[in-house]
């Protein structure tokens, strides 16, 4: 029998987040293609949605 709670699960499709930045190991920060830290472009971070309370829900449920 399927657990009761899973009867209320929704399919949301595979997350298709493409982040326009990559991790720079020497800086220990994510950087944009032009070398600026990703955090310098706050509008972009909002648009990407990687800081939201559901962004890490598959690995860290206490978001």
């Amino acid at each position: 029998m399927r657990p009761f709670t899973l009867n209320y699960a929704l399919s949301r499709g595979l997350p298709a987040v493409v982040t326009p930045y990559h991790f720079d190991a020497s800086l220990q920060l994510n950087v944009l293609p032009d070398g600026r830290p990703a955090v310098s472009d706050r509008d972009l971070l909002l648009a990407v949605g990687t800081t939201t309370s559901t962004a890490g829900s598959q690995t860290h449920f206490d978001d």
Binding site: M1, R2, P3, F4, T5, L6, N7, Y8, A9, L10, S11, R12, G13, L14, P15, T19, Y21, F23, A25, S26, Q28, L29, N30, P37, A38, V39, R42, L45, L46, G49, T50, T51, T52, S53, T54, A55, G56, S57, Q58, T59, H60, F61, D62, D63
Partner: protein, 318 residues
Amino acid sequence: MTVLILTSEQDVTADMAVAVLYERGVPVMRLDPADLPGKAVLSADYAHGDFDGHLSVNGHVLSMGGLRSVWVRRPGEPAAHAEHASAWLTAETRQALYGMLYSATTRWMNHPRNAEQARYKPWQLRVAHRSGFAVPPTVITTAPRVAQQFAEVHQDVVVKSASGPPPDDPTLALPTTLIGPGADFSAVAAGPALLQRYVPKRADIRLTCVGSRLFGARKRAAPGQVDGRYGDTGYVWEATEVPDRIANSVHEYLTLSGLAYAAFDFAEDEEGLWWFLECNQGGQFGFVELETGQPIAEAVALWLAQRAMDRRAPESRR
């Protein structure tokens, strides 16, 4: 003295605090436990009644004697990226890494011992009671009859997951959902169900706590909206004052839980009362800061940058 941040490389929210630490000249080591062993290297010596340990990753080296604080943000499972990853290797690596870190004298945000307990939603409800919050009646049960009776008594009832969506299926979401009339509760016997009286709300509240600093944020709810995390209503997060009664309860909760960082979720009802929903010990704050402009990352960085004045004292709230 170095701040150690345990998180994944992709964690751009951590970047927000790292940037502040850099501005203030505080050394940082960022490590994903998933990269140990491999990209990261660890050694700890226990000899002649003394202890020292070292971590290195990406050209950065940290001695345990130079460890200022540890921020447990979004760490991967130890050894998850190892060439021969296995459950055993994860367990061995967890012993090596966290055993070494626990051997050092340092400040934690949050200490894994406290974080582990704080993740339990039923326990959160009890601590919320003791802290003086308004808590919606809740039951967690594997008894269909108990679930049925709860729904009959409270009428409008939501179901929510205690642990989040199934980790092995990234396509599934489990938003908090209203149970309609005439629900069949027989499947409660197949797995614990967490049911809670629905709170009709006019807003969601996210209250982020960093040490003793509180950052309240409020987002209007759409009519009938249940889970504020899902659905685009067009409303945005805005900074809001934290009532004194709530602040007092928050401080009590943090004292009882030993947390240095926490993100509380409340539902604000039509009378303006904040109902406790949950407390996320590792809750995201990036979206709140980006929308409200509240300096949460700076607060985190300042907390991490502090030096312990008396290392024998409890450290979670300073």
